[in-house]
Structures are given as structure tokens and as C-alpha cells.
């Protein structure tokens, strides 16, 4: 399918993810055991006596050595046991899995929006340095990193919902008058399309639009900045000059020659962008009452539901590692310098 060298690099990259995952598991373990005071006393509640605290300590495994506790924690993780959420009474894993599609749908649409704006903007800015489009790019980049994402979201709600009335109220994935589409992927927009229900699709998309744009604006800045810088560097290189001198079409030079090479540093930036996105997701979900794993974590934080918060942190970290892995694999696959002889 592809060269042997590429295959080896991908396997190597997959192996490199193992220490990251071990590190993540150790950190989340330490976080669960770093609760202030004695966790057994906390979980036993204020009315507990010495005996019931001791019982809870044994049932939580807190009387064992740290190493044993870590082993139990790690083997629980392997079987997908993240504990039970105190606030909802459900296993944390089930809560997370039920809410994950909402967060992912939001994140992916935000990413698409962000790329659709940042790439053309960065390319246009790089091809015409110091023109108005370059200045526009500079303003967008500086404003994008300075705007608190929850602030952008509130401005959006005020303008599009309150003043102009074009957006639905910022309350969740679907207005109450619509039924959620039959679940296939649990992405409401895709499910509605699969069902052929355009009205529900429109409603779901309308709910999704503002939060996705809010999140997208925040991540636009690093992408546009990197696109511009990478394109500027590639455009000043010798092979582009040669391509131009050979009389190739402007669009061929720009897209086939320059952009394909500039794409690699942009892919690398995507890793950092995902870190921003998964973090800001929590804030955006709060602003738009979005029923994803971010709002779940916030509710859990307020009532000190530790198992839920730690499960959320772990899930986000694993998701982030997987996204970074995907980026690296795509990088290896599209990098023209790797595996030419394969």
C-alpha cells in the first residue's frame, strides 16, 4: 500500500504514544489520591463515625500501599471502570460516552470552520505581504488570541439571538419542539441527514453554528499565523522561483507546489490547536448550555464529584493523545520526503 519506511515510522510513532499514556495514567492517579485531607472521611460524609470511615477506606482500597492502589486503578481503567459519579449515580464511563458525541460534533465543526477561514486567509496574506489582506490577517491573529472564548460566545449570543433574533436560544443541541433524530452516529446533524429529515438537520445545525464559530474564532489565530509564515517561507524558496520561471500557472505554483509543502508545519500546529480546542470546549459548552462532557465536568466540579472530574480529565487526555497520533500519521503519509524509494 505504502512504502515500508512509512509503515515503520507509523509503528514507531504508535509505540511512542505508550509512555505518554502511562504518564497520563500516573498523573490522573496522583490527582485522585491528592484530595485534600482523607478521601475516606470525605466520601463517608459528615455524619460518619470511626467504623464506617474505616469500612469506606477498605472498600475504596485506601488501606493498601500506593503501588497496590495504582495497580488496582490501572486494571480498573483497562476494564473501562472509572468509578461511579456521585451526582448522577451512573458509571462515569457511561456518562462520558453518552455525552462525548455532542462535544465531538461541536469540536469537528469548529475545526472545519477554523480551517476554512484560516487557510485561505493565511495563503492570501502570504502571497500579498503588507496588502490590506495581510493587515486583516494580522488583526484577526492578534484579536483571536486575546479574546476570551467565553466572552466571544456571549457577544455572539447577544448579537445573533437577542438583537437580530436569527439564532435559536443558546440552550443545548436541539430546541425542545424537535425530537432528536434516530441515533446512528449520535451526531445530530449527520443523523438527521441519514434520516432524510431536513427540518431537524436545519434546527440542529442552527444550534451548532454559534458555539462552533465561537470555538473556531479562538483556534483560527494560531492556524492563520502558521499558514502565513509557512507559505512565506516556501514561496521564497528556490524551487518556487524555478517553477515560476518555467512558466507554470500561478495557481499550480501556489497550490500544487507551495501549499503542499507549507502544509506540513500547519499540520504540526494542529496539535497545539487541539489542546486549545479541547480546553476551550469546556467554556463554550458552559456558555451555550451544550450537553457535552465539558458541562458534565463543570457540574461535577461544583459538587466535588471527584470520580467524574478525573474521568473527564483522563478521557480528554486520551482523546488528545489519539488526535496527536492521527496528526503524526497523516504527517508521515503526506510528507513527500519520506519513503520516496519505498
Amino acid at each position: 500500500m505504502f512504502g515500508n519506511e512509512k509503515f515503520k515510522m507509523i509503528v514507531g510513532r504508535l509505540l511512542q504514544a505508550i509512555p505518554s499514556i502511562i504518564g497520563i495514567i500516573i498523573v490522573t492517579f496522583v490527582l485522585t489520591r491528592a484530595l485534600p485531607g482523607d478521601p475516606a472521611v470525605y466520601f463517608a460524609g459528615p455524619a460518619a463515625d470511626e467504623k464506617s470511615i474505616q469500612e469506606i477506606r477498605v472498600s475504596l482500597g485506601l488501606d493498601k500501599s500506593w503501588l497496590e492502589q495504582f495497580w488496582i486503578y490501572a486494571s480498573d481503567l483497562v476494564t473501562g471502570n472509572l468509578g461511579v459519579s456521585v451526582s448522577t449515580g451512573q458509571p462515569v464511563v457511561e456518562e462520558l460516552i453518552r455525552r462525548l458525541p455532542a462535544s465531538l460534533e461541536l469540536t469537528f465543526l469548529a475545526l472545519i470552520f477554523s480551517l476554512a477561514v484560516a487557510l485561505p486567509l493565511g495563503i492570501a496574506a502570504a502571497t500579498r505581504p503588507n496588502s490590506w489582506i495581510d493587515q486583516l490577517c494580522r488583526i484577526v491573529v492578534t484579536a483571536g488570541v486575546s479574546l476570551p472564548v467565553f466572552f466571544t460566545g456571549l457577544i455572539m449570543v447577544y448579537l445573533f439571538y437577542y438583537i437580530w433574533g436569527v439564532a435559536p436560544p443558546p440552550l443545548g443541541r436541539l430546541e425542545i419542539i424537535y425530537l432528536s433524530p434516530p441515533p446512528v452516529t449520535n451526531f445530530y446533524t449527520i443523523d438527521a441527514l441519514l434520516d432524510g429529515d431536513l427540518e431537524t438537520f436545519g434546527a440542529a445545525f442552527a444550534q451548532l453554528a454559534l458555539p462552533a464559530i465561537t470555538l473556531g474564532i479562538f483556534t483560527l489565530a494560531p492556524l492563520a499565523r502558521m499558514t502565513r509564515a509557512a507559505m512565506l517561507q516556501v514561496l521564497s524558496s528556490d524551487f518556487i522561483r524555478t517553477a515560476r520561471a518555467s512558466g507554470l500557472k500561478r495557481s499550480t505554483v501556489l497550490y500544487t507546489y507551495a501549499f503542499r509543502n507549507a502544509f506540513l508545519p500547519i499540520l504540526t500546529t494542529l496539535g497545539m490547536v487541539f489542546s486549545f480546542m479541547l480546553g476551550s470546549n469546556v467554556l463554550v459548552e458552559k456558555v451555550f448550555a451544550w450537553p457535552g462532557i465539558g458541562s458534565f465536568a463543570i457540574e461535577a466540579l461544583i459538587v466535588s464529584d471527584y470520580a467524574a472530574v478525573q474521568g473527564f480529565v483522563l478521557a480528554m487526555a486520551i482523546l488528545y493523545v489519539l488526535l496527536n497520533l492521527t496528526i503524526d500519521i497523516v504527517y508521515t503519509l503526506v510528507d513527500p520526503r519520506v519513503g520516496l524509494d519505498g
Binding site: 509512555p19 505518554s20 504518564g23 497520563i24 500516573i26 498523573v27 490522573t28 496522583v30 490527582l31 485522585t32 491528592a34 484530595l35 485534600p36 492578534t142 484579536a143 488570541v145 486575546s146 479574546l147 476570551p148 472564548v149 467565553f150 466572552f151 456571549l154 457577544i155 449570543v157 447577544y158 439571538y161 437577542y162 436560544p169 443558546p170 509564515a229 487541539f274 489542546s275 486549545f276 480546542m277 479541547l278 480546553g279 476551550s280 469546556v282 467554556l283 458552559k286 456558555v287 465536568a297 463543570i298 466540579l301 461544583i302 466535588s304 471527584y306 472530574v309 478525573q310 473527564f312 480529565v313 480528554m316 487526555a317 488528545y320 493523545v321
Partner: protein, 281 residues
């Protein structure tokens, strides 16, 4: 020194954006130092008769749901917001640069251990890690500071590792070693001071990010407790009123936050020009 002042003057006058950023920075510092003494109203004094008033001559930024003056609260909040961000950045600067220098100077095991720590922190989406840390350590302002410090640590460690590493066998270091200085003395007195300029740029660029992070944490209800004036929590409290049209509650503290972050970002760019003119973009 006069050369430096000349260069500073050149940077400030040549680029008006940096001059504006410098002025805004001064205003922020003044508000943080003298805010509580110059505001027209007590930031905690509520008034049952004057709730949710839009901006007027009496109340420049309007009043909130308890009749407190939004303008006074925003000015007073400057101190807390800057204090959180500055303490967090100072902690991560000191810890990060020491760890990074040791890693860059000694290499080997030191490098591997520090590298593993920074990689592990960076393996998390940083804001999410901060949430987890605050949840584990307890919901207080100090823990917001520690969480923000921890997630910023890798940036300082990495910059100072690189900067120390490239100078490790520079001629002036070899000369100092020949003169009989010990390794630690070499690192502390000869190499480390030379790594400070790039680190200072990192500090300034990082400040804005630290402010955003801390405000984000208090926006989701961590750390700062309500009635305390703080920008993040003010936006959170005002958020519910946006849908009914009382925009001033969330908009003004949000704008204050944005201006503060903007100032530090611009200042960071200006500082970079001052220290390293080649890296201008």
C-alpha cells in the same frame, strides 16, 4: 545602558502599537495599585433600589443584579486578576527555568527526567489539566495559581533548556571554566543570566495566556468566590442576563479581560523586537 535606552526609545516611537501597549500596561498597573482608593463606589455595596441599571452618568458601566456599580468592581478586580496571573507566571518562570537549565547544562539523566515531566504535562489539553489540578487540590484561589503555574511550566523549561544548551560550550564559558569556576557556578553566574532575555519575552507572551486561563477557571466557578470582584466570575454572573438584554454586566468585565490580554501580547511582541530585532515578523 544609554544604548539600551536609545533602543527602547526607538522601539517605542517607531512602532506606535508598542507605545499604546506600554501606556495601557501603565494604566493596568495603576488600577491594580490604586484601584480600591480611586473608584467612585464600594465594589461590594449593593443597592436594592438601583438594580440592573444600564450605563448612565452615575454608573458608567451600569449596575448589576444587586445594584453594585460595575465600573468600580472592574477596576478593583484588576489587582486580583493581575496578582493571580503574575504569581503563576513567576512560579513557572523560576521552576521552569531552573529545571530547564539543569537539563540543558548537565544533559543525560537530568535532561531525560525534565523532558519526561514536560512531555507528560504537554500530553494533556492544558486547560483540562488545570481543571483536574484545582479539583484535586481544592477549590481555592491559591490552587488556581498553582494550576496555572504547572501548565505553563513546560514553556519555560523548554526555552531555557535550549538557550543553556547552545551556550554550554561557548568560548566565554570555556574561559570561565579554565579560570577554575565550578559547574554550578558556571551555570548560575555565567550562562543563566544570558538566557534571561529570551525568557523575558516568553514571560510577557505568557502573561496574557495566564490571565485567560485563570479567568476561564473562575468563569466555570473555580477559585474566586462570589461577591469578590474578579473579571472571570463577573462575566459568568452576567452571562445569564445576556439573553434578556442586560449586556453591560458581562460585556464590560469581558472587555477588561480582553484589553489586559491584548496589552500583554502586544508588549511581548514589542519586547521581542527590543531584545532580538532579527526575530521580527
Amino acid at each position: 545602558m544609554t544604548e539600551f535606552l536609545k533602543h527602547l526609545k526607538y522601539i517605542l516611537t517607531e512602532n506606535s502599537v508598542t507605545l499604546i501597549a506600554g501606556t495601557m500596561f501603565l494604566l493596568l498597573i495603576l488600577a491594580a495599585l490604586f484601584g480600591p482608593y480611586i473608584v467612585p463606589y464600594d465594589p461590594l455595596a449593593s443597592s436594592a433600589t438601583r438594580t440592573l441599571e444600564p450605563p448612565s452618568w452615575d454608573h458608567w458601566f451600569g449596575t448589576d443584579q444587586l445594584g453594585r456599580d460595575v465600573f468600580s468592581r472592574i477596576i478593583v478586580a484588576t489587582r486580583l486578576d493581575l496578582a493571580i496571573a503574575i504569581s503563576a507566571v513567576v512560579i513557572s518562570f523560576v521552576l521552569g527555568s531552573v529545571l530547564g537549565s539543569l537539563a540543558g547544562f548537565f544533559g543525560g539523566w537530568a535532561d531525560r527526567i525534565v523532558g519526561r515531566i514536560t512531555d507528560t504535562i504537554m500530553a494533556f489539553p492544558l486547560f483540562v489539566l488545570a481543571m483536574g489540578i484545582v479539583a484535586a487540590l481544592g477549590n481555592t484561589v491559591e490552587n488556581i495559581v498553582y494550576a496555572t503555574a504547572i501548565i505553563n511550566l513546560p514553556f519555560y523549561a523548554r526555552v531555557s533548556r535550549t538557550e543553556v544548551n547552545v551556550r554550554r560550550s561557548a568560548d566565554f564559558v570555556l574561559a570561565a571554566r579554565l579560570a577554575g569556576n565550578s559547574s554550578l557556578r558556571l551555570l548560575a553566574m555565567h550562562i543563566y543570566p544570558n538566557t534571561l532575555p529570551p525568557l523575558m519575552v516568553q514571560v510577557s507572551l505568557n502573561m496574557g495566556w495566564a490571565i485567560l486561563n485563570a479567568a476561564g477557571l473562575s468563569f466555570i466557578g473555580l477559585g474566586v468566590r462570589p461577591p469578590t470582584p474578579e473579571w472571570g466570575i463577573m462575566v459568568a454572573e452576567g452571562a445569564g442576563f445576556i439573553v434578556s438584554g442586560e449586556w453591560w454586566l458581562a460585556l464590560f468585565p469581558g472587555a477588561a479581560l480582553m484589553i489586559a490580554v491584548f496589552t500583554f501580547n502586544l508588549l511581548g511582541d514589542g519586547l521581542r523586537d527590543l531584545i532580538d530585532p532579527r526575530r521580527r515578523t
